[in-house]
């Protein structure tokens, strides 16, 4: 609670509301249970920032890194791809099925303007990290104060 920020909380609430209504009416029931029955969003994402970059982390287990598409439009980043379902073997018996398979696409809003020329993405062990450099004018500027 030490660094509780009202504006950040409000922003997160707005994101949650956007997220809820984005899927409204179109295949909500299909989206639910995609990665696992308890989650209706895929992939799960974290957004972090420092003074020069914005980092978007996404959990994409079982997705071939070469098949992940990352695209940026203004201040929104879209991550899409496909998790291929394993081939059914003859005479198989399913004891437990908690994993989801199929195509996914998700767009998330970034907390600031970015330089679209400076974007890198890497996926290691099913964790995708997209690093987006902030636009020059969006970076905090340090102004020296001179004593007269």
């Amino acid at each position: 609670m030490a660094n509780w920020d009202l504006f950040r909380e409000l922003d997160n609430m707005r994101r949650e509301i956007d997220e809820t209504f984005r899927n409204y009416g179109l295949g909500r029931s299909m989206a639910a249970g995609f990665l696992s029955p308890a989650r209706n969003r895929f992939p799960l994402m974290n957004v972090r920032e420092d003074s020069s970059n914005i980092y978007v982390d996404a959990l994409v287990p079982g997705v071939d890194p070469n098949g992940i598409d990352v695209s940026v439009l203004r201040n929104a980043v879209t991550i899409s791809g496909e998790r291929k379902s394993p081939l059914d073997e003859k005479g198989q018996v399913v004891h437990r099925s908690e994993l989801g398979f199929g195509k996914f696409s998700r767009t998330i809003e970034l907390p600031g303007e970015i330089d679209t020329e400076k974007i890198t993405a890497q996926s290691i062990n099913g964790l995708l990290r997209v690093t987006l450099a902030k636009a020059e004018h969006a970076k905090p500027k340090k102004i020296e104060v001179k004593l007269s």
């Binding site: 974290n46 972090r48 099925s97 994993l99 099913g126 964790l127």
Partner: protein, 131 residues
């Protein structure tokens, strides 16, 4: 088939491993368990886990999956949907499984474990000869 049923232990998402000793949180990975002709195939999602931190063992009919994750991330959080924590989950498996022939693979955050069934449990086809 009932003899090869795999039953999980206590289920909860993130839980302290031993309430009094460790304060660390653990995540329970989601799994698929499929039985095929000659083996039992367990697929677990462990995104963020390093291959070298994986620890899988079978002891007295208990299969334990343990994996560490690197939780370091640059910057400060803006919006958070997931948390990374070490993975931990146990399953009861038939003691008759052939552990010598168990194989594990790890790619793109997914662990695939193949446990070979004992010879006696494999389906056997008997040829009928007409006379």
């Amino acid at each position: 088939m009932a003899a090869n049923e795999v039953a999980p232990n206590v289920e909860r998402n993130v839980r302290p491993r031993e309430e009094t000793r460790a304060f660390e949180k653990y995540l329970k990975p989601a799994v698929n368990i499929i039985e095929v002709e000659d083996s039992l195939v367990l697929t677990a999602d462990l995104p963020g886990a390093g291959k070298e931190t994986l620890d899988i063992n079978v002891e007295k009919g208990i299969l334990t999956i343990n994996a560490g994750v690197s939780t370091e991330a640059p910057g400060r959080p803006v919006y958070t949907e997931f948390e990374l924590a070490p993975y931990y989950r146990q399953f009861q498996v038939p003691e008759s499984l052939n552990n010598e022939k168990a194989r594990a693979e790890y790619a793109d955050g997914v662990l695939t474990l193949r446990l070979a069934k004992p010879e006696a449990a494999k389906p056997r086809k008997i040829q009928v000869t007409g006379g």
